[in-house]
Amino acid sequence: MVEILIDEDACVGCGSCVDDCPNDVYKMNEEKWKTEVVNLEDCMACLSCHEICPAQAMEHRDIHVAKRLYIDRKVTDVLEKII
Protein backbone atom coordinates (compact mmCIF):
# COMPACT_ATOMS: atom_id res chain seq x y z
CA MET A 1 0.00 0.00 0.00
CA VAL A 2 1.36 3.37 -1.06
CA GLU A 3 2.18 5.82 1.69
CA ILE A 4 2.71 9.52 0.98
CA LEU A 5 4.45 11.75 3.46
CA ILE A 6 4.28 15.54 3.15
CA ASP A 7 6.90 17.56 4.94
CA GLU A 8 4.74 20.42 6.19
CA ASP A 9 7.75 22.51 7.11
CA ALA A 10 9.02 22.28 3.55
CA CYS A 11 5.68 22.64 1.72
CA VAL A 12 5.28 26.20 0.45
CA GLY A 13 1.58 25.79 -0.32
CA CYS A 14 1.95 26.58 -4.02
CA GLY A 15 -0.69 23.98 -4.93
CA SER A 16 1.25 22.71 -7.95
CA CYS A 17 0.77 19.10 -6.88
CA VAL A 18 -2.96 19.65 -6.39
CA ASP A 19 -3.27 21.02 -9.94
CA ASP A 20 -0.99 18.44 -11.52
CA CYS A 21 -2.29 15.22 -9.98
CA PRO A 22 -4.67 13.56 -12.46
CA ASN A 23 -6.38 11.55 -9.73
CA ASP A 24 -7.04 14.31 -7.17
CA VAL A 25 -4.87 12.64 -4.56
CA TYR A 26 -4.05 16.01 -2.96
CA LYS A 27 -6.08 18.90 -1.65
CA MET A 28 -5.04 22.23 -0.24
CA ASN A 29 -5.71 22.52 3.48
CA GLU A 30 -7.05 26.04 3.58
CA GLU A 31 -6.41 26.53 7.28
CA LYS A 32 -2.75 25.55 7.21
CA TRP A 33 -2.33 26.45 3.52
CA LYS A 34 -0.38 23.25 3.02
CA THR A 35 -1.00 20.27 0.78
CA GLU A 36 -2.67 17.24 2.30
CA VAL A 37 -3.35 13.75 1.01
CA VAL A 38 -7.08 13.09 0.67
CA ASN A 39 -7.33 10.28 -1.87
CA LEU A 40 -4.41 7.96 -1.27
CA GLU A 41 -5.97 4.87 -2.85
CA ASP A 42 -6.03 6.57 -6.27
CA CYS A 43 -2.31 7.35 -6.28
CA MET A 44 -0.70 5.51 -9.19
CA ALA A 45 2.83 6.58 -8.25
CA CYS A 46 3.50 8.48 -11.48
CA LEU A 47 5.54 10.89 -9.35
CA SER A 48 4.52 13.97 -11.35
CA CYS A 49 4.05 15.65 -8.00
CA HIS A 50 7.71 15.04 -7.19
CA GLU A 51 8.76 16.59 -10.49
CA ILE A 52 6.64 19.69 -9.98
CA CYS A 53 7.12 20.29 -6.26
CA PRO A 54 9.55 23.21 -5.89
CA ALA A 55 10.27 22.32 -2.27
CA GLN A 56 10.79 18.56 -2.64
CA ALA A 57 8.35 18.17 0.22
CA MET A 58 7.04 14.73 -0.71
CA GLU A 59 8.01 11.18 -0.10
CA HIS A 60 6.30 8.13 -1.58
CA ARG A 61 6.80 4.81 0.17
CA ASP A 62 6.15 1.27 -0.98
CA ILE A 63 5.80 2.05 -4.70
CA HIS A 64 7.18 0.44 -7.86
CA VAL A 65 10.25 2.53 -8.63
CA ALA A 66 10.85 2.56 -12.39
CA LYS A 67 14.24 1.53 -13.66
CA ARG A 68 16.73 4.30 -14.20
CA LEU A 69 18.60 3.01 -17.21
CA TYR A 70 19.02 6.56 -18.47
CA ILE A 71 21.54 7.44 -15.78
CA ASP A 72 25.02 7.70 -17.23
CA ARG A 73 27.29 6.33 -14.53
CA LYS A 74 30.36 7.99 -16.01
CA VAL A 75 28.71 11.38 -15.59
CA THR A 76 27.60 10.62 -12.02
CA ASP A 77 31.11 9.43 -11.18
CA VAL A 78 32.53 12.76 -12.39
CA LEU A 79 29.82 14.69 -10.52
CA GLU A 80 30.55 12.80 -7.32
CA LYS A 81 34.20 13.77 -7.58
CA ILE A 82 33.29 17.44 -8.07
CA ILE A 83 30.60 17.55 -5.38
Binding site: C46, E51, Y70, D72
Partner: protein
Protein backbone atom coordinates in the same frame (compact mmCIF):
# COMPACT_ATOMS: atom_id res chain seq x y z
CA UNK B 1 40.38 11.59 -22.41
CA UNK B 2 42.44 8.41 -22.46
CA UNK B 3 40.41 5.37 -23.38
CA UNK B 4 41.78 1.89 -23.48
CA UNK B 5 40.16 -0.19 -26.15
CA UNK B 6 40.65 -3.90 -25.72
CA UNK B 7 41.68 -5.62 -28.90
CA UNK B 8 39.87 -8.93 -29.11
CA UNK B 9 41.76 -11.33 -31.31
CA UNK B 10 40.65 -14.82 -32.28
CA UNK B 11 39.67 -17.06 -35.14
CA UNK B 12 36.44 -16.61 -37.04
CA UNK B 13 34.96 -19.36 -39.17
CA UNK B 14 31.71 -18.75 -41.05
CA UNK B 15 30.34 -22.13 -39.99
CA UNK B 16 30.91 -21.50 -36.30
CA UNK B 17 27.84 -20.35 -34.40
CA UNK B 18 28.99 -18.23 -31.49
CA UNK B 19 27.55 -19.52 -28.21
CA UNK B 20 28.03 -16.30 -26.35
CA UNK B 21 28.69 -12.67 -27.04
CA UNK B 22 31.93 -11.05 -26.16
CA UNK B 23 32.08 -8.15 -23.76
CA UNK B 24 30.70 -7.58 -20.30
CA UNK B 25 27.82 -5.69 -18.75
CA UNK B 26 29.64 -2.36 -19.19
CA UNK B 27 29.75 -2.92 -22.94
CA UNK B 28 26.01 -3.54 -22.97
CA UNK B 29 25.40 -0.47 -20.88
CA UNK B 30 27.44 1.64 -23.24
CA UNK B 31 25.67 0.20 -26.27
CA UNK B 32 22.29 0.88 -24.63
CA UNK B 33 23.19 4.51 -23.99
CA UNK B 34 24.44 5.00 -27.54
CA UNK B 35 21.21 3.50 -28.86
CA UNK B 36 19.11 5.66 -26.54
CA UNK B 37 20.90 8.77 -27.77
CA UNK B 38 20.59 7.67 -31.38
CA UNK B 39 16.87 6.98 -31.10
CA UNK B 40 16.31 10.22 -29.20
CA UNK B 41 18.07 12.31 -31.83
CA UNK B 42 16.33 10.44 -34.60
CA UNK B 43 12.97 11.16 -33.01
CA UNK B 44 13.62 14.89 -32.62
CA UNK B 45 15.03 15.12 -36.15
CA UNK B 46 12.01 13.32 -37.54
CA UNK B 47 9.79 15.85 -35.81
CA UNK B 48 11.86 18.71 -37.21
CA UNK B 49 11.63 17.40 -40.77
CA UNK B 50 8.17 15.86 -40.84
CA UNK B 51 6.31 17.83 -38.17
CA UNK B 52 3.30 15.90 -36.96
CA UNK B 53 3.96 13.29 -39.61
CA UNK B 54 6.71 12.04 -37.28
CA UNK B 55 4.03 10.68 -34.98
CA UNK B 56 2.54 8.60 -37.78
CA UNK B 57 5.91 7.19 -38.80
CA UNK B 58 6.84 6.18 -35.27
CA UNK B 59 3.32 4.85 -34.66
CA UNK B 60 3.61 2.63 -37.73
CA UNK B 61 6.99 1.33 -36.57
CA UNK B 62 5.54 0.52 -33.15
CA UNK B 63 2.54 -1.16 -34.71
CA UNK B 64 4.76 -3.48 -36.71
CA UNK B 65 6.69 -4.36 -33.58
CA UNK B 66 3.41 -4.98 -31.78
CA UNK B 67 2.07 -7.26 -34.49
CA UNK B 68 5.28 -9.29 -34.35
CA UNK B 69 5.17 -9.50 -30.56
CA UNK B 70 1.46 -10.42 -30.63
CA UNK B 71 2.16 -13.43 -32.82
CA UNK B 72 3.80 -15.11 -29.84
CA UNK B 73 0.58 -14.97 -27.79
CA UNK B 74 -2.41 -17.25 -28.03
CA UNK B 75 -5.38 -15.47 -29.64
CA UNK B 76 -8.24 -14.62 -27.30
CA UNK B 77 -11.44 -12.56 -27.05
CA UNK B 78 -10.92 -11.89 -23.37
CA UNK B 79 -9.37 -8.44 -22.93
CA UNK B 80 -8.11 -9.04 -19.39
CA UNK B 81 -6.49 -12.34 -20.44
CA UNK B 82 -4.94 -10.66 -23.49
CA UNK B 83 -3.52 -7.91 -21.27
CA UNK B 84 -1.99 -10.42 -18.87
CA UNK B 85 -0.41 -12.41 -21.68
CA UNK B 86 0.85 -9.30 -23.43
CA UNK B 87 2.34 -8.09 -20.21
CA UNK B 88 4.54 -11.21 -20.22
CA UNK B 89 5.43 -10.95 -23.90
CA UNK B 90 6.21 -7.24 -23.90
CA UNK B 91 8.62 -8.11 -21.13
CA UNK B 92 10.46 -6.27 -18.46
CA UNK B 93 11.10 -3.21 -20.58
CA UNK B 94 7.39 -2.35 -20.78
CA UNK B 95 6.04 -3.29 -17.37
CA UNK B 96 2.37 -2.38 -17.20
CA UNK B 97 -0.75 -3.36 -15.35
CA UNK B 98 -4.44 -2.63 -15.63
CA UNK B 99 -5.48 0.24 -13.43
CA UNK B 100 -8.79 1.57 -12.12
CA UNK B 101 -9.72 4.44 -9.86
CA UNK B 102 -10.93 3.38 -6.42
CA UNK B 103 -14.56 4.22 -7.22
CA UNK B 104 -14.69 1.93 -10.26
CA UNK B 105 -15.72 -1.70 -9.83
CA UNK B 106 -14.10 -3.47 -12.79
CA UNK B 107 -10.99 -2.80 -14.80
CA UNK B 108 -12.96 -2.74 -18.04
CA UNK B 109 -15.81 -0.43 -18.99
CA UNK B 110 -18.24 -1.43 -21.73
CA UNK B 111 -19.55 1.46 -23.86
CA UNK B 112 -21.68 0.35 -26.81
CA UNK B 113 -19.43 -1.69 -29.08
CA UNK B 114 -16.31 -0.49 -27.30
CA UNK B 115 -14.40 -1.78 -24.29
CA UNK B 116 -12.18 0.61 -22.39
CA UNK B 117 -9.37 -0.27 -20.02
CA UNK B 118 -6.82 1.93 -18.32
CA UNK B 119 -3.20 0.79 -18.43
CA UNK B 120 -0.48 1.98 -16.10
CA UNK B 121 2.97 1.75 -17.68
CA UNK B 122 5.53 1.63 -14.93
CA UNK B 123 8.75 0.65 -16.68
CA UNK B 124 9.11 1.91 -20.23
CA UNK B 125 12.16 2.01 -22.46
CA UNK B 126 10.68 4.97 -24.33
CA UNK B 127 10.52 7.03 -21.14
CA UNK B 128 14.10 6.03 -20.30
CA UNK B 129 15.22 7.13 -23.76
CA UNK B 130 13.43 10.46 -23.47
CA UNK B 131 15.03 11.13 -20.12
CA UNK B 132 18.44 10.12 -21.44
CA UNK B 133 18.21 12.64 -24.27
CA UNK B 134 16.28 15.35 -22.42
CA UNK B 135 13.23 15.16 -24.65
CA UNK B 136 9.71 15.89 -23.37
CA UNK B 137 7.18 13.10 -22.89
CA UNK B 138 4.10 12.82 -25.14
CA UNK B 139 6.29 13.47 -28.22
CA UNK B 140 6.67 11.25 -31.32
CA UNK B 141 8.59 8.58 -29.45
CA UNK B 142 5.62 7.93 -27.17
CA UNK B 143 3.76 6.93 -30.35
CA UNK B 144 6.08 3.94 -30.56
CA UNK B 145 4.48 2.50 -27.46
CA UNK B 146 1.08 3.57 -28.72
CA UNK B 147 1.61 1.63 -31.94
CA UNK B 148 3.22 -1.26 -30.12
CA UNK B 149 0.25 -1.81 -27.82
CA UNK B 150 -2.30 -1.31 -30.56
CA UNK B 151 -0.45 -3.68 -32.90
CA UNK B 152 -0.13 -6.34 -30.22
CA UNK B 153 -3.78 -6.09 -29.19
CA UNK B 154 -4.95 -6.16 -32.79
CA UNK B 155 -2.88 -9.26 -33.39
CA UNK B 156 -4.07 -11.10 -30.30
CA UNK B 157 -7.73 -10.15 -30.42
CA UNK B 158 -8.26 -9.47 -34.14
CA UNK B 159 -10.02 -6.19 -33.43
CA UNK B 160 -9.26 -2.49 -33.83
CA UNK B 161 -7.77 -0.59 -30.93
CA UNK B 162 -6.49 2.82 -29.94
CA UNK B 163 -4.42 4.05 -27.06
CA UNK B 164 -4.77 7.54 -25.59
CA UNK B 165 -2.32 9.12 -23.21
CA UNK B 166 -4.13 10.28 -20.06
CA UNK B 167 -1.17 11.36 -18.03
CA UNK B 168 2.61 11.12 -18.18
CA UNK B 169 4.87 11.06 -15.17
CA UNK B 170 8.51 10.43 -14.41
CA UNK B 171 7.74 7.08 -12.78
CA UNK B 172 4.57 5.89 -14.54
CA UNK B 173 2.21 6.86 -17.37
CA UNK B 174 -1.53 6.24 -17.52
CA UNK B 175 -3.06 5.35 -20.87
CA UNK B 176 -6.53 4.39 -21.99
CA UNK B 177 -6.87 1.47 -24.37
CA UNK B 178 -10.12 1.44 -26.32
CA UNK B 179 -10.99 -1.58 -28.41
CA UNK B 180 -13.79 -1.63 -30.92
CA UNK B 181 -15.58 -4.93 -31.34
CA UNK B 182 -16.75 -5.97 -34.76
CA UNK B 183 -13.51 -6.93 -36.48
CA UNK B 184 -10.96 -4.99 -38.52
Amino acid sequence: MNMEIEDIRGTFKPETIPKETTGDINDYEEALHVLMKFVGYMSSSLEQVSGRGANAIVYQAGKRMGHDAGKMVEKTDDLEKAMNELSEILGIEFVFEMWKPSGQEDYTIEKGDETIVKLLFMDCVVRQTLRRTGLPQKGPLCYLLYGYMVGAVEEVMSIKGKLDIDHVGSNACLKTLTIKWGGK
